[in-house]
Protein backbone atom coordinates (compact mmCIF):
# COMPACT_ATOMS: atom_id res chain seq x y z
CA UNK A 1 0.00 0.00 0.00
CA UNK A 2 2.34 2.70 1.13
CA UNK A 3 5.95 2.10 1.85
CA UNK A 4 8.37 3.89 4.06
CA UNK A 5 11.94 3.32 5.08
CA UNK A 6 12.68 3.54 8.72
CA UNK A 7 15.74 3.30 10.89
CA UNK A 8 19.00 2.81 9.12
CA UNK A 9 20.76 -0.07 10.81
CA UNK A 10 24.52 -0.37 11.06
CA UNK A 11 25.68 -1.87 7.79
CA UNK A 12 26.36 -5.57 7.78
CA UNK A 13 27.38 -5.86 4.16
CA UNK A 14 30.27 -3.74 3.05
CA UNK A 15 28.86 -2.15 -0.10
CA UNK A 16 25.57 -0.68 1.11
CA UNK A 17 23.86 -0.11 4.44
CA UNK A 18 21.05 -2.46 5.31
CA UNK A 19 17.80 -0.58 5.37
CA UNK A 20 14.97 -1.94 7.48
CA UNK A 21 11.90 -1.46 5.44
CA UNK A 22 8.38 -2.10 6.55
CA UNK A 23 5.44 -2.12 4.22
CA UNK A 24 2.16 -0.97 5.71
CA UNK A 25 -0.46 -3.43 4.63
CA UNK A 26 -4.13 -2.71 5.19
CA UNK A 27 -5.41 -5.59 3.06
CA UNK A 28 -6.84 -7.33 6.13
CA UNK A 29 -9.54 -4.65 6.18
CA UNK A 30 -11.25 -6.22 3.14
CA UNK A 31 -12.07 -9.23 5.25
CA UNK A 32 -12.22 -7.80 8.76
CA UNK A 33 -14.18 -4.58 8.38
CA UNK A 34 -17.46 -6.04 9.72
CA UNK A 35 -15.68 -6.80 13.00
CA UNK A 36 -14.63 -3.17 13.32
CA UNK A 37 -18.13 -1.95 12.55
CA UNK A 38 -19.54 -4.30 15.19
CA UNK A 39 -16.92 -3.13 17.70
CA UNK A 40 -17.60 0.53 17.02
CA UNK A 41 -21.35 -0.11 17.37
CA UNK A 42 -20.85 -1.75 20.77
CA UNK A 43 -18.63 1.16 21.83
CA UNK A 44 -21.43 3.55 20.86
CA UNK A 45 -24.04 1.51 22.74
CA UNK A 46 -21.84 1.15 25.85
CA UNK A 47 -21.00 4.83 25.98
CA UNK A 48 -24.46 6.19 25.19
CA UNK A 49 -25.93 4.09 28.02
CA UNK A 50 -23.14 5.00 30.46
CA UNK A 51 -23.21 8.69 29.59
CA UNK A 52 -26.99 8.88 30.03
CA UNK A 53 -27.08 6.95 33.30
CA UNK A 54 -23.90 8.66 34.54
CA UNK A 55 -25.45 12.03 33.80
CA UNK A 56 -28.55 11.16 35.83
CA UNK A 57 -26.43 9.88 38.74
CA UNK A 58 -24.19 12.95 38.57
CA UNK A 59 -27.08 15.40 38.41
CA UNK A 60 -28.84 13.86 41.40
CA UNK A 61 -25.56 13.76 43.34
CA UNK A 62 -24.82 17.33 42.30
CA UNK A 63 -28.18 18.46 43.69
CA UNK A 64 -27.56 16.50 46.90
CA UNK A 65 -24.07 17.99 47.15
CA UNK A 66 -25.52 21.51 47.15
CA UNK A 67 -28.95 21.21 48.77
CA UNK A 68 -28.86 17.85 50.54
CA UNK A 69 -28.68 16.85 54.18
CA UNK A 70 -25.15 17.48 55.57
CA UNK A 71 -24.58 13.77 56.07
CA UNK A 72 -25.62 12.95 52.49
CA UNK A 73 -23.43 15.81 51.27
CA UNK A 74 -20.46 14.25 53.03
CA UNK A 75 -21.28 10.86 51.54
CA UNK A 76 -21.44 12.24 47.99
CA UNK A 77 -18.17 14.05 48.66
CA UNK A 78 -16.52 10.75 49.60
CA UNK A 79 -17.86 9.06 46.49
CA UNK A 80 -16.57 11.83 44.22
CA UNK A 81 -13.10 11.96 45.79
CA UNK A 82 -12.62 8.19 45.78
CA UNK A 83 -13.61 7.81 42.14
CA UNK A 84 -11.70 10.85 40.91
CA UNK A 85 -8.48 9.79 42.61
CA UNK A 86 -8.29 6.18 41.42
CA UNK A 87 -7.76 4.87 37.88
CA UNK A 88 -10.71 3.66 35.82
CA UNK A 89 -8.79 0.45 35.06
CA UNK A 90 -8.72 -0.49 38.76
CA UNK A 91 -12.40 0.47 39.15
CA UNK A 92 -13.27 -1.83 36.27
CA UNK A 93 -11.25 -4.66 37.84
CA UNK A 94 -12.99 -4.19 41.18
CA UNK A 95 -16.43 -4.36 39.56
CA UNK A 96 -15.68 -7.29 37.24
CA UNK A 97 -13.27 -9.50 39.21
CA UNK A 98 -13.98 -8.18 42.69
CA UNK A 99 -17.76 -8.43 42.67
CA UNK A 100 -17.72 -11.83 41.00
CA UNK A 101 -15.40 -13.14 43.71
CA UNK A 102 -17.94 -11.90 46.26
CA UNK A 103 -20.58 -13.99 44.49
CA UNK A 104 -22.12 -11.37 42.18
CA UNK A 105 -21.44 -12.70 38.68
CA UNK A 106 -21.82 -10.05 36.00
CA UNK A 107 -21.08 -10.22 32.29
CA UNK A 108 -18.20 -8.15 30.96
CA UNK A 109 -20.56 -5.70 29.26
CA UNK A 110 -22.68 -5.14 32.37
CA UNK A 111 -19.56 -4.70 34.52
CA UNK A 112 -18.19 -2.24 31.98
CA UNK A 113 -21.39 -0.21 32.07
CA UNK A 114 -21.51 -0.21 35.88
CA UNK A 115 -17.88 0.95 36.15
CA UNK A 116 -18.34 3.62 33.48
CA UNK A 117 -21.56 4.90 35.07
CA UNK A 118 -19.99 5.11 38.52
CA UNK A 119 -16.98 6.91 37.03
CA UNK A 120 -19.02 9.26 34.86
CA UNK A 121 -21.33 10.02 37.78
CA UNK A 122 -18.47 11.28 39.95
CA UNK A 123 -17.11 13.64 37.30
CA UNK A 124 -20.59 14.87 36.38
CA UNK A 125 -21.32 15.54 40.07
CA UNK A 126 -18.38 17.92 40.32
CA UNK A 127 -19.26 19.71 37.09
CA UNK A 128 -22.98 20.01 37.90
CA UNK A 129 -22.20 21.13 41.46
CA UNK A 130 -20.25 24.06 40.06
CA UNK A 131 -23.18 24.91 37.77
CA UNK A 132 -25.82 24.58 40.49
CA UNK A 133 -23.81 26.72 42.91
CA UNK A 134 -23.67 29.46 40.30
CA UNK A 135 -27.47 29.85 40.36
CA UNK A 136 -28.21 32.74 42.64
CA UNK A 137 -30.75 32.42 45.48
CA UNK A 138 -32.85 35.23 44.08
CA UNK A 139 -33.65 33.08 41.06
CA UNK A 140 -35.34 30.55 43.31
CA UNK A 141 -37.16 33.23 45.27
CA UNK A 142 -38.45 34.61 41.99
CA UNK A 143 -39.60 31.11 40.99
CA UNK A 144 -41.42 30.85 44.32
CA UNK A 145 -43.18 34.15 43.67
CA UNK A 146 -44.26 32.91 40.25
CA UNK A 147 -45.87 29.92 41.96
CA UNK A 148 -43.66 27.23 40.48
CA UNK A 149 -43.61 24.07 42.53
CA UNK A 150 -40.42 22.46 43.77
CA UNK A 151 -39.94 20.11 40.82
CA UNK A 152 -40.58 22.87 38.27
CA UNK A 153 -38.13 25.14 40.08
CA UNK A 154 -35.43 22.48 40.10
CA UNK A 155 -35.83 21.65 36.43
CA UNK A 156 -36.43 25.05 34.86
CA UNK A 157 -34.73 27.47 37.22
CA UNK A 158 -31.86 25.43 38.66
CA UNK A 159 -30.88 22.54 36.40
CA UNK A 160 -31.28 23.87 32.86
CA UNK A 161 -29.48 27.19 33.45
CA UNK A 162 -26.82 25.40 35.52
CA UNK A 163 -26.32 22.93 32.71
CA UNK A 164 -26.15 25.70 30.14
CA UNK A 165 -23.27 27.27 32.04
CA UNK A 166 -21.24 24.09 32.39
CA UNK A 167 -22.24 22.54 29.08
CA UNK A 168 -18.78 22.81 27.45
CA UNK A 169 -17.10 21.12 30.43
CA UNK A 170 -19.84 18.51 30.53
CA UNK A 171 -19.57 17.57 26.86
CA UNK A 172 -15.80 17.33 26.88
CA UNK A 173 -16.10 15.01 29.89
CA UNK A 174 -18.58 12.91 27.89
CA UNK A 175 -16.14 12.65 24.98
CA UNK A 176 -13.35 11.71 27.40
CA UNK A 177 -15.58 8.93 28.76
CA UNK A 178 -16.16 7.64 25.24
CA UNK A 179 -12.38 7.45 24.76
CA UNK A 180 -11.91 5.90 28.21
CA UNK A 181 -14.40 3.17 27.34
CA UNK A 182 -11.50 1.62 25.39
CA UNK A 183 -10.19 0.49 28.78
CA UNK A 184 -13.12 -1.91 29.15
CA UNK A 185 -11.36 -4.05 26.50
CA UNK A 186 -9.23 -5.26 29.42
CA UNK A 187 -12.12 -7.29 30.79
CA UNK A 188 -12.91 -8.44 27.24
CA UNK A 189 -16.04 -6.42 26.65
CA UNK A 190 -16.09 -6.84 22.86
CA UNK A 191 -15.96 -3.15 21.97
CA UNK A 192 -13.75 -1.41 19.43
CA UNK A 193 -10.39 -1.81 21.19
CA UNK A 194 -11.05 -5.44 22.08
CA UNK A 195 -11.93 -6.05 18.43
CA UNK A 196 -8.61 -4.51 17.47
CA UNK A 197 -6.75 -6.73 19.91
CA UNK A 198 -8.48 -9.76 18.40
CA UNK A 199 -7.84 -8.78 14.78
CA UNK A 200 -4.20 -7.97 15.40
CA UNK A 201 -3.59 -11.37 16.97
CA UNK A 202 -5.20 -12.91 13.86
CA UNK A 203 -3.37 -10.90 11.25
CA UNK A 204 -0.11 -9.87 12.99
CA UNK A 205 -0.65 -6.41 11.50
CA UNK A 206 -0.69 -4.69 14.90
CA UNK A 207 0.46 -1.26 13.82
CA UNK A 208 -2.02 -1.03 10.94
CA UNK A 209 -4.88 -2.32 13.08
CA UNK A 210 -4.33 0.33 15.74
CA UNK A 211 -4.01 3.05 13.11
CA UNK A 212 -7.43 2.04 11.76
CA UNK A 213 -8.90 2.03 15.26
CA UNK A 214 -7.33 5.41 16.08
CA UNK A 215 -9.01 6.88 13.00
CA UNK A 216 -12.34 5.33 14.00
CA UNK A 217 -12.05 6.83 17.51
CA UNK A 218 -11.20 10.22 16.01
CA UNK A 219 -14.31 10.00 13.85
CA UNK A 220 -16.38 8.92 16.86
CA UNK A 221 -15.20 11.86 18.95
CA UNK A 222 -16.05 14.24 16.11
CA UNK A 223 -19.47 12.59 15.84
CA UNK A 224 -20.08 12.90 19.59
CA UNK A 225 -19.05 16.57 19.63
CA UNK A 226 -21.46 17.22 16.75
CA UNK A 227 -24.26 15.36 18.53
CA UNK A 228 -23.73 17.28 21.80
CA UNK A 229 -23.68 20.56 19.90
CA UNK A 230 -27.04 19.65 18.32
CA UNK A 231 -28.47 18.57 21.70
CA UNK A 232 -27.31 21.89 23.11
CA UNK A 233 -29.22 23.74 20.41
CA UNK A 234 -32.41 21.91 21.32
CA UNK A 235 -31.98 22.17 25.10
CA UNK A 236 -31.01 25.78 25.40
CA UNK A 237 -33.70 27.61 23.47
CA UNK A 238 -32.99 30.87 25.26
CA UNK A 239 -29.38 30.81 24.16
CA UNK A 240 -30.45 30.00 20.60
CA UNK A 241 -32.80 32.99 20.59
CA UNK A 242 -30.43 35.49 22.14
CA UNK A 243 -27.15 34.10 20.90
CA UNK A 244 -25.36 34.85 24.18
CA UNK A 245 -24.19 32.70 27.02
CA UNK A 246 -25.75 33.07 30.45
CA UNK A 247 -23.84 35.44 32.63
Amino acid sequence: MCEFDTVERSSTSADRPLIMSYVLDFSFMAEKWPAFVAGAWLTIQLTVVSISLGFVVGTVCGLVRVYGHPLLRRLVGFYVEIIRNTPLLVQIFIVYFGLSSLGLKLSAEVSAIIALVVNMGAYTTEIMRAGIQSISRTQMEAADCLGLNRLQTIIHVVLLPAMERVYPALTSQFVLLMLASSITSQISAEELTATANLVQSDTYRSFEVYIVVAVVYLALSALYRLAFWAIGLVLFARRRRLGTALQ
Binding site: N85, I94, F97, F207, I211, Y217
Partner: protein
Protein backbone atom coordinates in the same frame (compact mmCIF):
# COMPACT_ATOMS: atom_id res chain seq x y z
CA UNK B 1 -2.54 -20.94 47.69
CA UNK B 2 -1.16 -17.69 49.04
CA UNK B 3 -3.09 -15.20 51.05
CA UNK B 4 -2.77 -11.49 50.94
CA UNK B 5 -0.12 -10.85 53.57
CA UNK B 6 2.60 -8.35 54.38
CA UNK B 7 4.80 -9.72 51.56
CA UNK B 8 2.17 -9.03 48.94
CA UNK B 9 1.52 -5.57 50.32
CA UNK B 10 5.23 -4.75 50.25
CA UNK B 11 5.33 -5.97 46.66
CA UNK B 12 2.49 -3.59 45.79
CA UNK B 13 4.19 -0.66 47.47
CA UNK B 14 7.45 -1.42 45.66
CA UNK B 15 5.57 -1.55 42.37
CA UNK B 16 4.04 1.83 43.21
CA UNK B 17 7.56 3.24 42.92
CA UNK B 18 7.42 2.41 39.21
CA UNK B 19 4.10 4.19 38.96
CA UNK B 20 5.82 7.26 40.41
CA UNK B 21 8.84 6.92 38.09
CA UNK B 22 6.60 6.58 35.06
CA UNK B 23 4.53 9.59 36.19
CA UNK B 24 7.68 11.68 36.55
CA UNK B 25 8.93 10.64 33.10
CA UNK B 26 5.54 11.46 31.60
CA UNK B 27 5.38 14.80 33.37
CA UNK B 28 8.92 15.85 32.44
CA UNK B 29 8.52 14.78 28.81
CA UNK B 30 5.02 16.21 28.64
CA UNK B 31 6.20 19.52 30.09
CA UNK B 32 8.86 19.96 27.41
CA UNK B 33 6.49 18.94 24.61
CA UNK B 34 3.63 20.94 26.12
CA UNK B 35 5.66 24.13 26.37
CA UNK B 36 6.66 23.78 22.73
CA UNK B 37 3.06 23.16 21.72
CA UNK B 38 1.73 26.06 23.79
CA UNK B 39 4.25 28.46 22.24
CA UNK B 40 3.49 27.08 18.76
CA UNK B 41 -0.24 27.61 19.40
CA UNK B 42 0.29 31.33 20.08
CA UNK B 43 3.00 31.72 17.43
CA UNK B 44 2.81 34.33 14.68
CA UNK B 45 3.48 31.64 12.07
CA UNK B 46 0.20 30.15 10.86
CA UNK B 47 1.74 26.82 9.84
CA UNK B 48 3.09 26.24 13.37
CA UNK B 49 -0.28 27.08 14.90
CA UNK B 50 -2.03 24.68 12.55
CA UNK B 51 0.45 21.89 13.16
CA UNK B 52 0.24 22.21 16.95
CA UNK B 53 -3.54 22.37 17.04
CA UNK B 54 -3.76 19.43 14.64
CA UNK B 55 -1.53 17.38 16.91
CA UNK B 56 -3.58 18.30 19.98
CA UNK B 57 -6.86 17.46 18.22
CA UNK B 58 -5.56 14.04 17.18
CA UNK B 59 -4.16 13.09 20.60
CA UNK B 60 -7.20 14.38 22.48
CA UNK B 61 -9.48 12.51 20.08
CA UNK B 62 -7.87 9.06 20.43
CA UNK B 63 -7.80 6.94 23.57
CA UNK B 64 -4.49 6.82 25.43
CA UNK B 65 -4.71 3.03 25.24
CA UNK B 66 -4.53 3.19 21.43
CA UNK B 67 -1.62 5.65 21.53
CA UNK B 68 0.08 3.20 23.87
CA UNK B 69 -0.42 0.27 21.47
CA UNK B 70 0.71 2.38 18.51
CA UNK B 71 3.96 3.41 20.19
CA UNK B 72 4.59 -0.11 21.48
CA UNK B 73 4.13 -1.78 18.09
CA UNK B 74 5.41 1.24 16.16
CA UNK B 75 8.75 1.12 17.99
CA UNK B 76 8.85 -2.58 17.19
CA UNK B 77 8.35 -1.92 13.50
CA UNK B 78 11.15 0.62 13.51
CA UNK B 79 13.45 -2.12 14.67
CA UNK B 80 13.87 -1.17 18.29
CA UNK B 81 13.57 -3.73 21.01
CA UNK B 82 10.22 -3.67 22.72
CA UNK B 83 10.91 -2.15 26.12
CA UNK B 84 7.60 -1.50 27.88
CA UNK B 85 9.06 1.37 29.93
CA UNK B 86 10.13 3.20 26.77
CA UNK B 87 6.83 2.65 24.97
CA UNK B 88 4.83 3.65 28.06
CA UNK B 89 7.02 6.71 28.69
CA UNK B 90 6.73 7.76 25.07
CA UNK B 91 2.96 7.45 24.83
CA UNK B 92 2.34 9.14 28.18
CA UNK B 93 4.66 11.95 27.06
CA UNK B 94 2.70 12.36 23.81
CA UNK B 95 -0.54 12.36 25.79
CA UNK B 96 0.57 14.69 28.60
CA UNK B 97 2.17 17.07 26.08
CA UNK B 98 -1.11 17.56 24.23
CA UNK B 99 -3.11 18.30 27.38
CA UNK B 100 -0.45 20.47 29.06
CA UNK B 101 0.02 22.36 25.78
CA UNK B 102 -3.68 23.19 25.72
CA UNK B 103 -3.75 24.18 29.41
CA UNK B 104 -0.67 26.38 29.10
CA UNK B 105 -1.84 28.03 25.89
CA UNK B 106 -4.86 29.23 27.87
CA UNK B 107 -2.56 30.61 30.57
CA UNK B 108 -0.35 32.43 28.06
CA UNK B 109 -3.42 33.93 26.38
CA UNK B 110 -4.78 34.99 29.76
CA UNK B 111 -1.85 37.36 30.29
CA UNK B 112 -3.27 40.74 29.35
CA UNK B 113 -2.53 42.19 25.95
CA UNK B 114 -1.22 45.43 27.49
CA UNK B 115 1.74 43.46 28.87
CA UNK B 116 2.74 42.60 25.29
CA UNK B 117 2.34 46.21 24.22
CA UNK B 118 4.29 47.58 27.17
CA UNK B 119 7.17 45.18 26.61
CA UNK B 120 7.10 46.09 22.91
CA UNK B 121 7.48 49.74 23.86
CA UNK B 122 10.43 48.90 26.08
CA UNK B 123 12.13 47.47 23.01
CA UNK B 124 12.22 43.85 24.18
CA UNK B 125 12.46 41.28 21.42
CA UNK B 126 10.10 38.30 21.18
CA UNK B 127 12.37 36.03 23.23
CA UNK B 128 12.86 38.62 25.96
CA UNK B 129 9.12 39.31 26.03
CA UNK B 130 8.43 35.65 26.72
CA UNK B 131 11.30 35.14 29.15
CA UNK B 132 10.91 38.24 31.31
CA UNK B 133 7.33 39.41 30.92
CA UNK B 134 4.80 36.88 29.66
CA UNK B 135 5.91 33.47 30.92
CA UNK B 136 6.57 34.48 34.55
CA UNK B 137 2.98 35.74 34.75
CA UNK B 138 1.60 32.76 32.85
CA UNK B 139 3.38 30.32 35.17
CA UNK B 140 1.52 31.69 38.19
CA UNK B 141 -1.79 31.06 36.44
CA UNK B 142 -0.66 27.65 35.23
CA UNK B 143 0.35 26.04 38.51
CA UNK B 144 -3.09 25.01 39.88
CA UNK B 145 -4.41 23.35 36.69
CA UNK B 146 -1.02 21.72 36.10
CA UNK B 147 -1.03 20.12 39.53
CA UNK B 148 -4.60 19.02 38.85
CA UNK B 149 -3.51 17.41 35.60
CA UNK B 150 -0.75 15.50 37.39
CA UNK B 151 -3.52 13.46 39.02
CA UNK B 152 -4.63 12.40 35.54
CA UNK B 153 -1.07 11.41 34.68
CA UNK B 154 -0.67 9.25 37.78
CA UNK B 155 -3.99 7.52 37.10
CA UNK B 156 -3.23 6.98 33.44
CA UNK B 157 0.08 5.26 34.15
CA UNK B 158 -2.16 2.32 35.13
CA UNK B 159 -2.65 1.70 31.40
CA UNK B 160 1.04 0.79 31.06
CA UNK B 161 0.11 -2.51 32.71
CA UNK B 162 -1.57 -3.47 29.44
CA UNK B 163 1.76 -3.75 27.59
CA UNK B 164 3.30 -5.66 30.47
CA UNK B 165 5.05 -2.90 32.38
CA UNK B 166 5.02 -3.91 36.03
CA UNK B 167 3.68 -0.91 37.88
CA UNK B 168 1.01 -0.79 40.54
CA UNK B 169 -1.92 -2.12 38.48
CA UNK B 170 0.11 -4.92 36.89
CA UNK B 171 1.48 -5.82 40.33
CA UNK B 172 -2.12 -6.00 41.54
CA UNK B 173 -2.95 -8.44 38.75
CA UNK B 174 0.12 -10.53 39.59
CA UNK B 175 -0.73 -10.67 43.29
CA UNK B 176 -4.34 -11.48 42.42
CA UNK B 177 -3.20 -14.38 40.24
CA UNK B 178 -1.59 -16.02 43.24
CA UNK B 179 -4.10 -15.12 45.96
CA UNK B 180 -7.44 -15.16 44.08
CA UNK B 181 -8.82 -12.40 46.25
CA UNK B 182 -9.50 -9.78 43.58
CA UNK B 183 -11.78 -7.60 45.67
CA UNK B 184 -9.28 -7.13 48.49
CA UNK B 185 -6.25 -6.91 46.19
CA UNK B 186 -7.68 -4.32 43.83
CA UNK B 187 -9.10 -2.35 46.75
CA UNK B 188 -5.56 -2.18 48.16
CA UNK B 189 -4.29 -1.09 44.74
CA UNK B 190 -7.00 1.58 44.58
CA UNK B 191 -6.08 2.73 48.10
CA UNK B 192 -2.43 3.19 47.09
CA UNK B 193 -3.46 5.18 43.99
CA UNK B 194 -5.71 7.26 46.21
CA UNK B 195 -2.81 7.93 48.58
CA UNK B 196 -0.75 9.16 45.62
CA UNK B 197 -3.47 11.24 43.96
CA UNK B 198 -5.48 12.74 46.78
CA UNK B 199 -2.68 14.99 48.11
CA UNK B 200 -2.22 16.30 44.56
CA UNK B 201 -5.95 16.97 44.26
CA UNK B 202 -5.97 18.80 47.59
CA UNK B 203 -2.92 20.83 46.59
CA UNK B 204 -4.51 21.77 43.26
CA UNK B 205 -7.66 22.94 45.04
CA UNK B 206 -5.74 24.92 47.66
CA UNK B 207 -3.58 26.58 45.01
CA UNK B 208 -6.65 27.47 43.00
CA UNK B 209 -8.31 29.05 46.00
CA UNK B 210 -5.15 31.01 46.69
CA UNK B 211 -4.89 32.30 43.16
CA UNK B 212 -8.56 33.29 43.21
CA UNK B 213 -8.03 35.17 46.45
CA UNK B 214 -5.06 37.01 44.95
CA UNK B 215 -7.24 38.44 42.20
Amino acid sequence: MNHLGPNQLIYLVLAAQWTIVLSLIAFAGGAVLGLGLALARVSKIAALRLLASGYIQVIQGTPLLIVLFLSYFGLGIMGYKLVPLVAAGLSLTLYAGAFLGEIWRGCIEAVSKTQWEASDCLGLNRFQQYAYVILPQAVRLAIPPTVGFMVQIVKNTSLASVIGFVELSRAGQIVNNSTFEPFVVFSCVAAIYFALCYPLSLAARALERKSHAAK
